[in-house]
Structure formats: C-alpha cells, structure tokens
Symmetry: D2
Subunit: 360 residues, 4 copies
C-alpha cells in the first residue's frame, strides 16, 4: 500500500508538491451532518502558513483552501471531501542551481535513489509544505471532536534550543498559546525563544525544539490493541511529520529510571467516579484511552535548510560547496503547533470511529 | 480495521491470551523459497522466554513453536504460515482474587470499559506474553533479511534505572550482547545492571530502562512517504510493545537543542561511493533509508506488576488494597531485546517488499 | 497486501493446506459479548464436510473445530478468535504420482509458476478444503446477525446440470433446504438432481450448477459506495470461492434485455412504510441495501477432478496421460451451500460494522 | 475503511458529485518514470463523455482533465497523482423538483436513509459521472501495462436488449470497436443496436445490454489467493460500476450445465511452450492468471432515468407521480466500454505490483 494515506475509517490521502500547482487532500469517511465551512479550515491553516511573523519563512503563500466536494449546503454529506490550496509563490528558478545537488540532511539523495528521478523544485513532496493537507483535514476532525464529543486538542512550544518552559500543561489554554508568535504559553520564556530564533536567523542558521501535545476529554476505550494502540498511532502520526526525531508519552524517557512503585498510577474514587491519581501513563493504559488527559512530547530537529556554506556531493558523485539557499524557517516549531494538533485530531477521530464499529 | 495485524505486504495477525490455550500468529505475504525450520524460530523465542535467568519471571513456559502451514519440505511456499505455541504453565487460580480489581497501571480498567467484559486470567491479551507471536514472526523476517540482503538487526540494553552504558553501538556485536543475562554488551555495566535488578526484585519492585536498536546494511530506498516513513513505521512498531513510553531515532531529543549547521549530515565521497558523514539522522532521510546505519532508542517504563501493597479500586468502584501479585519480571528489558529485534525485522521486510512493488 | 484476509472490520485471515496439519482462521474484529460455542460452528461445518452423503467425496474428515482464543466463559471478548480444525484423513502417497503433473483446469500450473515451488499434496492451498475456514468464521457472523439483527441468510441448489427448480425463493425455508442431501428445496427436482449426480459419479465425471443465495431483514444503509458497494462485495466474496465462474444479483443477466420502464422498481407505501414494489434490483440501490430481500445467483463449473483419462503436460513440458485421480466430489453444489451462506454472513456483518462507524 | 478507494498498491481514491465543482481522483502507487500527458488521459475520457453521439446523453460536459501533481517534466515521479475535471454543464435548477422524491431504482432513498441527508443535485455521488475518475486513472494504468508489459485491454458491446453479436472475441480489434458509435465490432449488428437505442430513446425509455471484456498478454502469476483471486477482483471491479447486475468469466453461467470432462482445459505443448487448449476457464486457474486470454461478460441493466411517468413516493412517505426527468442516456453501454477497460487496467496493474512484491 502506498504511503500517502493515513487513518482507517477517517482516512485521508494527500498529494501535491511544494512547487507544483497545488496541495490537496481527499478525506474519506467523514461522518455526515457536520457543519463545516472553508473558514473553519482556513483558521487552522493561517496558524501554519509561512510569512505569519518575523520568525517564519518569508515565502508568500496565502494557502487559501477550497472545498471541492463532500459538503452540501454547509454540511458534510458522508461522501469524500476534496480540499485544495493552490501554490502561488513558487519560483522554480530558485531551485535550478540545486537541481543536481544533494543538500545535506535533505531527502534529495534518497528520493532520487528510490524513484530513479526527482522533481527538483524545492523539496517537492518531501517539503513540509505537504503538511498543509494534514492541517486542513485535521481541522475538520478537530471540529467534529469538539462539537460532538467536547474533546479538546492543543499543543505548544515547550522548548527552542535550550530555552525551555516548565509550565504545567494543565494551566495552559489555547488562548495563551496564541498570544505570541512562538506559541509558547509562558510569556517570559516566549520572549527568550523569539530572541533566540532571531539570533539564529540572523546567523543564517536553524534551531530545533520540543512541542508538547495535549488531548483532553477523550472517552474511555479508544485504541485498538495490540498493534494499533492509541499511543502507537499517535507516535506514528507525529514521527511522520517532517523533522520529527522523537516521541514520548506520559513519563516517557524519564520513566525509565523510575521504579514500579513510584511510576504506577493508582485508581481512586472521586465523587463516585473512578479516577487515575497521577497519570504518569499519559492517559493510555494497555493502548486504550483511560479517560485521563493524554499528553506527549515531540522532538523536532533543526531544519536542514540553512544560509551557510556546506560541503556536499552532487548527482555525479563529485564534492561540491553548497551556498546559501534562500527563504527558510529558522525554527519550524511555531508553525508546527497546528500540525501536531491536526495529526492528534486525525488519530483520535479515527480511533473513535473504530471503537464505535467494534462494539457492533 | 481491527488492531491485531501489522504490516502491509509481510503481514502478521496475532491472537491468544496469556492464560488461554495458545499464542499464535498467521504470517501472510512471506516470499516463497525461504528455508525455515522450527529451530530457526525457537532460537529467537528462547531469548524471550520466561525463566531463562535469575532476573526474569520464574513462570515456566517452554514456548515451543509449531509450524502448522505455509512450509513444505523445509521451505516457505508463499502461502500463509501459522505459528503456534501452547501455553503450559497457566494457573488460572492465581488470578481469581484479581478478578474484580483494577490493578494500577494495568489495562484491566480500560479493557473492561472498552469491551464490556474481560478475560481476567492474568493480563490476558494485554499481557506481554502476546509478544511471543511477534518474536516468532520476526524470526522469519530476520532470517530472510540476513540471508537474501545481508541486513543485520540487533539491539541491546543501554540502561536500567540510572545505570547506563556509553558504549558506541558500532563496537557492539550480537555475540557480546548475548554474553550476559541482561543483554548489555558492556560487561562492567552489565554487572551493575544485574545487581540493580536483583535488588529491585528482592524489594518486590520493578525498574525501567532503555533499549538501543540497530539495523545495518539496509538498502537505500526503504520507506514510503509521506505517512509510512521508515522512522514512523519503526516508531509505531516499538510504541506498540507493552510498557514502551518513548522512541527516538538518530539524534532524537538531543537534537532539539542543536543548530542546523551542527546537526546537518554532509554527504561525502569515499572510494567512489556517496556516504553520509556523521549520520545524526539515524540512517533515514525524508522517511527513506539512506544506506547509513539505522539506530534508535526505546524507553520502557517499569513493569506495573509489583509485590507491594497498593491502593486501588474494584469493579464496584470501591477502594481496595491490592497485595502482592505473584510471579513477575522485575525488569523486562533483557527479555525485550528480541522483541525489539523482531519488530525491526517486520518493519524492514515489509518496507522492502513495498519498495519492490512500487518500482513496477 | 497478501490475499488471505477478507473483510475490513470483521476481518478474517485463513491458512492451511488440504493435506497439511490443519485448516485455521483468525477472526479479528468480532464484537464482544456474543455467546458462541464450538457446537454453533460445528453445525455449519457438518453441512460442508466430506462424506456426508453418497453424492459427496468419501474422504473421511470429521472437521472438528477448536476455539483457541478470543472466547471466555462462553462469550466473545473482542480479542481475536482462532479457530482450527486438524486434517486427519490425509494420504500424501495418494498424490506422489501427481507431483510433476499439471492437472487440467487445476491450479498446479499457475501455483508453480507464481511461487517457483509447490506443495504437491492434493491441491494444497488451492483446494476447496480451504473453505472450511470460511464456513467456520461465517458461522460466528451468521449467529451474530441472527441474534442481534434478526438477519436471515440461506441459500440452496437451484440447478445441477440442466436440472433446474423454478421455485420462488420467497417460499423457501432453511428447513426445506436441509430436507434432502442435494440441498434443493423442491423435492421432485431434488430427486432428479441426485439421480443426475449419481449418474455422473458412476461415469467418473463431474457436473456444475447454480446456487441461489438469499439474505432477509437487512437494515437499510449497508454498503459503502463507490467501490465497496454491497453488491460488489457480495460478488467478490462469491467469485473468490473455488469453481465459481459467475455472479448475478436481482435481475442479473436477464435484466439486460429489459427496458427501464419494465425494470424500474417503484416505491410504494404499505402500512405507513416505504416499500419497494418488485425488487428487480435484488435489495440494493446505488450499492446500498434498500431493506428489500437480497437475492443472487452463483455459477459453479463442474469440478476439475474426474476419474477419466485426460491428456496434459508435466513440469518438464512433456505430454502425458493423466489417469483416474481418486476421491472427489462429482458435484460440489450440495457442500457449497454453507460456503455461500458463510461468505454472505461475512460480507453483511462487515458492512454492518462499517456503516455503524461511518455515522460517527 | 470508507469505500472510495480501489486497489492495494496502485490505489485510487475518487471524489466529486455529478453537480458539484469537479470530479477528481488521487492515484497513489503509480510507478515512477512513466511518460504521461493530459492528452493520454483525455483520449480515454473522450470515449466516455456525454454528448459524443446521437445515442448518448446530450449533457454538454467536455470533461477536460488536469494533472495537478505527481508528474514532472512529462513523467510520473512515484508521488501521488491528482487528476481533476471541472463540472461545467451543471444546472442545479433541473433538480429542484426532484429534491424530495425517491426516483424508482435510483439511490435517492438509500443515500438519504444511510447518511441522514442528501445532496439532491442529480444523482450526486451515485451518478455514473463518478466513473470519469475511474477512466482517468485507468488510462494511466492502461498505458503502463501496454508500454511496459505489452498487455492489451479492450471491450465491446456484445448485446443491447435482444440484439446480440456472435462474433468471436479473438477476431476483434480495438479499431473495429471504435468504428461505430455503439462500440460493437460487428457492423451489421451495430446498426441494429443503434436503431434499437434510437427507438428506445424516442420512446423516452432505456435499455440494457452486455459488455464483453478482454485482456491479452497477461503474464502468468497475477492474482492473490485465496480471497484476492484475479477473477474475484475483476468481478468486484465490474460490479462496482453503476447499473451492473452480473459478471461471468470464461464459460460463466453456461459452464454450469457442462460436465468436467467437457469443461476441463487440457494443457498442451506448442512450439516448446505450455499452452492451454480451450480456455473455458477464461485465462485464470486457481485465481491466478494462466497466460491465456482473459475474457468476461458484464451485465448492465437499463438505466433508471426515463422520460415516462412513474408512480413513486416522496420523503414524506406520500405517493407521488414522477414525470419526465430531462437529459439521460437511453443506453449506457457505448459509454461504459472505456469504464470496463479502465477498471480492468486498474485490477491488472494492481495485481501485477502485488505479484512483484510477493516474490521478495
């Protein structure tokens, strides 16, 4: 099965190159009767689009979304939904000089070797521009989850380089996240992050960081053991995003040095409800949502495109020097926040539908 | 789609409860003509079986594997392979007192809520005993990869609690890993790990740790963007293993604080071959194998079963005290090494077959 | 994706060769809480087993089914169900002389060419013995559909050779079908069919025929356009059965010579319910069940195994004479009735679960 | 899994309503390096488009295809291909009077019941206009098969109503099929068919018929037993086309009255090659292509839209009279020929890629 689909029952299939005509996605399996407008989707896309602030790529893409099918009189009909955004700020000439070069840590080399030929305009299909489709589809999933199930999905930038906030995720609201351009709800830390990104940008360099994702009000029972555990699906979703190198849920790597007696989450009764006391598990037990908050961390490496000279190799296997390469994001994290949100929504809605089915 | 299958073209479907009659797996899509014997599989299972040393669960399971179909005159025929191991040391009475209790950090609660009823014998399907099927299927994949493509797959225990080896994975061989019962190739550190596990065991507690996985000689081109990137599939595979809370590839979380100019891996020419200089990417570029070594880390939490009193809740939503619960592993990591190997093999062979198909 | 799985949400994966150790199936996605016993399954298998009458193969297979997993205290648990029946009457020596021969209209030739090697014991995986697994899994689906939704599934032999009943399917009951060994509810015609089969058998030959399948009380809404239309899935299910060469639903091929004004089924109101007047469509409109009876016809060719001399070719591409080949069914139709039932049940339950999911 | 995808490795996902903005398809898994142009696709679409002759619907749709992604410098790149054709001749007001009516034998009733709401513009997603996407995707598959494997795919109208040609399919060429507007290679019969369709059209009625499909030069080995047999996949493909009520391969229903000794196809040696003497099997043995010609028949009922008064029911469950309903095809068969071709190509290429994968 080719790799451009995600989800089993709320299934998306994406297409489009960064410098082709458009980025698009077909959503198959969206429940009928959901009110959805282009504006609902555009709001999420605007959080992802380039040029939104001084710390993002200056590429001028409006990323205007068009609904081509599957919605009638403002509601989803149960038939497949095609969403499409035209690429407008494509300057193919920008890339002519990169045609024959393997940019370090880019996918030029592996795409050429895998497919035997390569669309050399930008990173083409390997570009993070592809995530536009994920955010668009995710916006519909997110709206469904909020409206029908009151599930809340959000994420924020927890660290950029060595600048890290220690804020408790339970104190974070979506409003606080959107208060600043770096999408860190800790204002003091946000300022430092912005300063660091600007410094990196001026230096022609790039920088990595960590995004924390949160999903609240998830009903008990989502996740399909033994392979499609909810944590496994969330992990795959996040690791499929460009530049992601790590994923951890609940206690994550820090739990490795703990003892069971310390790590175990006790059940308790609060107001006649069973609750989980501490939730080091991160809201998932045995691969199935427990009703407690789901929280996880996603590691983003620094983007590979930098404005510095680098030595590398061309397609004739000759050493070459690659010089500055134009417009790029010094740090992808502020724009990656809605991508993490979108992928979370896709996973949760898919697993919600699967759970509905399995109970017959 | 239900959750007990893994892989698209080398597809496994597993079944069996920890205290039911058997654990089994059907492998569909194994290429024909591979020489395979029960012994080939048994060798891997013996690395996973309980009771193999003083630091594992004393449960007496021989885990004898039977090939029921798909192999004729010692070779795979291209038809589905059924592998089955009977459960022999099941003592259901051991679990009668746990019938109505939600054990902390176990899946009793979520399984009951999801399915409406629960097989309360042991952890049943949520037990790590389920991974027997993965190791058995993985043994066949591993043999294929080694024999036909010379791909080497191995992993080792890198840390237990706070005891950690700093050995370079490039210096590690499968022989060194098997030299001691904890499966850490650093003898001095291995001794400390064993001592720690024994201490934890005597204390009736459990402890977590990290396994490092390595895959060498992977051909360039495996992985199907944009969702089924090789790193995303490896991540999902590992995160679907019981007790795993985190996964990172290449630089992982440590790359988040680096700059692009530092993190980028340059291409270079060595003996007329294009090589990757530093490989912080961990052998995968744009979701596709680059030919460089693949390496990753997997975080295991401490197992939830401990021999200590814990407060929790029963199915009538009443607070109860859970006392000691019998035979368990104080630390799963030594037995988890072949599971990580097996899952790696399943992912690599599946992606190898997918790559073959896509080139038409 | 390999070809031994069927269904998306009620998914079965089968394995086992005709002369191997066993035939087995894993059912993944069975809703929890269904009461099921080995006896429930055995009843259906007994309708399929060889040696059940003088007009079937004398091979002595008891086809005793074992439930290995997924059922606890008499109920399904939502985890995968392994069903297995051992092969007991395998005489591999029967087949030694066929080792190198391509039997006419058998799959020996195509299996050898496709896989490069061949399990030559009987027809192995190409044997209709494989359908045992379908009937076993179908028995569970059928029970679920009857118990939870009152859906009735049955089928009968409509013709053998040129002997054909004109009975109206609406007058047929499951009891009438089981009244005779040929499974034709028209007693007078049944006698003629039996006589014909005995004649054919004595002649060392075989004969084809048609089975009519009926599904009643299907809720409106099953079927997923545009590719997984209910009729398309039923057609695939039937065409995947050994020896099937044709499928038609509702008016089928006879509708090709009709005009729209004659073929169209009007809607009407009966006792405040919308009903379909004539149902030439066969219970499905636009790929979705309409609530009217589903009925279809399945064409079975005469079985390829006959006790007559035939000229053919061996694996060295030399002409050879193939002589009589032992135990076989002169006519598969009586034993194929439960197979058609089972496949119907698998399709309907799968589509029922898919429809549940899609409405969110 | 929702129902708008077809194929496992050459996978298409379609979308678009008959009176929405566009019909589109994403093809995922097309091998890289295939030369493809919009013109290649347009040629096939022009055979399907309305208004092409006096015996088709007068709806004015140019069906101009646009390639949005996946092709670079005239070649496929291995990334997903988006094909899109705008709907231009949509007159929604045409359908306002049908908004609340269940047209006989149409899907209005089942769509409304299944999804709870309905896009009432034309038949929307249930319209055969959806098959545009199949023909477009099929054109790429067909080109690949012809260019790389010399596989020939064609089909023709064998009967309209009771007018039937007895021409031997082996004497038919694609050129002869295209010589007349009804796409029957038997000129004398074609004239009668055209006359019949015109008569039916003048009468405001519609008429059914049979298409025969042929696939030549298929390599031995395509088809994945036991469920994804080549005949089963072809059957599903055809039965998923609007108005199709039956499918038969090789001897089909006529084989049911034959004896094995008559039906069996002997192997023989011709010029050192193994050949199949008679091919009643229709080119497939045990679900796997045998190298012999594949041929099959597809039954199309008369289209449901007619210009005659019909009694039916509205959404308020009241009896109503439906009068003439505008532009329609009196007989879909001439336009269905490229649809059958396209679906054949999709199945064969998908199975070709699957077969490549399975051999490792």
């Amino acid at each position: 099965m080719p790799g451009n689909s995600f989800g089993e029952l709320f299934k998306i299939t994406t297409c489009g190159e960064s410098h082709g005509e458009a980025i698009a996605v077909i959503i198959d399996g969206c429940p009928p009767g959901l009110e959805i407008s282009e504006n609902d989707i555009q709001k999420e896309l605007d959080r992802r689009k380039p040029g939104q602030s001084q710390i993002t790529s200056p590429r001028e893409e409006k990323d205007v979304i068009h609904i081509f099918s599957g919605v009638f009189e403002g509601k989803t009909t149960g038939t497949p939904i095609l969403l499409l955004a035209y690429n407008t700020d494509t300057k193919p000439t920008d890339y002519e000089h990169l045609k024959n070069i393997y940019r370090p840590s880019h996918a030029d080399f592996t795409y050429l070797k895998k497919y035997g030929l390569r669309d050399f305009r930008g990173s083409s299909r390997a570009s993070a521009r592809e995530t536009l489709a994920r955010v668009a589809a995710g916006a519909i999933a997110k709206k469904y989850l909020k409206k029908k199930l009151n599930i809340e999905i959000f994420s924020y930038v927890e660290s950029v380089g060595n600048i890290k906030t220690d804020i408790d995720y339970r104190a974070v609201s979506i409003e606080n996240i959107e208060k600043n351009i770096v999408r860190c709800p800790d204002e003091a830390i946000a300022k430092k992050m912005i300063a660091l990104i600007e410094e990196v940008k001026n230096d022609g360099d790039s920088i990595g960081g960590v995004i924390r994702g949160i999903i609240k009000n998830v009903p008990i029972g989502l996740g399909e053991p033994v392979f499609d555990k909810l944590n496994a699906d969330l992990g795959k979703a996040m690791l499929s995003i460009n530049a992601v190198k790590g994923f951890e849920i609940g206690s994550g790597f820090s739990g490795c040095s703990m003892r069971g007696s310390e790590h175990n989450d006790s059940f308790t009764v609060v107001n006649d409800n069973v609750e989980i006391e501490k939730n080091d598990a991160g809201g998932i037990l045995g691969g199935i949502s427990s009703g407690a908050d789901i929280y996880f961390r996603v590691a983003f490496k620094p983007v590979s495109t930098i404005n510095k000279k680098q030595h590398t190799v061309n397609i004739h296997d000759e050493p070459v020097i690659l010089s500055a390469t134009g417009r790029h994001d010094p740090c992808v994290l502020p724009r990656a926040v809605p991508i993490v949100d979108g992928m979370s929504a896709l996973v949760i809605l898919d697993q919600y539908l699967r759970n509905k089915a399995q109970n017959g």
